[in-house]
């Protein structure tokens, strides 16, 4: 079945440094890819979604590029902020979008 892999359990950064969280996927079909962010005691919320036309989605300074050749959808931001500290999930779904398959999650901690 489909699967999503996030290799880093924890990423720690100093404020102002660039962020990259890794995500790779395996799927029989060409899935949609998503990044969700979950702050402490809050619901997971959609951060980014891949486009079918290969446009690069961006939100709140974060962006991600879908690379079908390497089956990756890494999350990036040029300059981390303290408020970016949260749990980030990469997820995939088939074209119908009915079932999300999540990775293990990466905790991002940003320090002064």
């Amino acid at each position: 079945g489909d699967s999503v892999t996030q290799t880093e359990g924890l990423v720690t950064l100093t404020e102002g440094l660039p962020v990259m969280l890794n995500c790779t996927y395996q799927s029989t079909y060409s899935p949609f890819l998503f990044w969700y962010v979950q702050h402490l005691n809050e619901a997971p919320k959609l951060l980014l979604k891949s486009f079918t036309d290969n446009k690069r989605p961006e939100h709140q300074g974060f962006h991600a590029t879908l690379h079908k050749s390497s089956s990756s959808f890494h999350l990036q931001k040029s300059s981390a902020q303290l408020s970016d500290s949260a749990l980030y999930y990469c997820a995939s779904a088939t074209s119908s979008g009915q079932k999300l398959v999540f990775g293990q999650g990466t905790i991002l901690k940003v320090y002064l």
Partner: protein, 112 residues
């Protein structure tokens, strides 16, 4: 717009006890999901409905777990005889055509 509402927010049980979780999706959302989110893991789909019909319950441990959505609106997830391995956060989510998946804050279950 009201989000997905879940109750209770927390539950602590002894092994063998039963518990029910309740979910009120966003109004008008025909698809409802229940996910299990063990500590330090990503959410894993248990079951999902479209209106009142179960579409996929292949990952629901049928001997002890049950889920219903009798009128195609609210839903209840029940664990008949809880085990320590059921300790997790249970997330409810909803969507309709052409929308993203919206999550509730979850019910954090601890089985001792």
């Amino acid at each position: 717009e009201a989000g997905v509402t879940q109750s209770p927010r927390y539950a602590v049980l002894q092994e063998g006890q039963a518990v029910s979780f309740w979910c009120d999706p966003i109004s008008g959302h025909d698809t409802l999901y229940w996910y299990q989110q063990p500590r330090d893991q990503g959410p894993q789909l248990l079951v999902y409905f479209r209106d009142e019909a179960v579409i996929d319950n292949s990952q629901l441990p049928s001997d002890r777990f049950s889920a219903v959505r009798p009128k195609g609106t609210n839903s209840t997830l029940k664990i008949q005889s809880a085990k320590q391995g059921d300790t997790a956060t249970y997330l409810c989510a909803s969507k309709t055509a052409n929308t993203e998946v919206f999550f509730g804050k979850g019910t954090r279950l601890t089985v001792v």
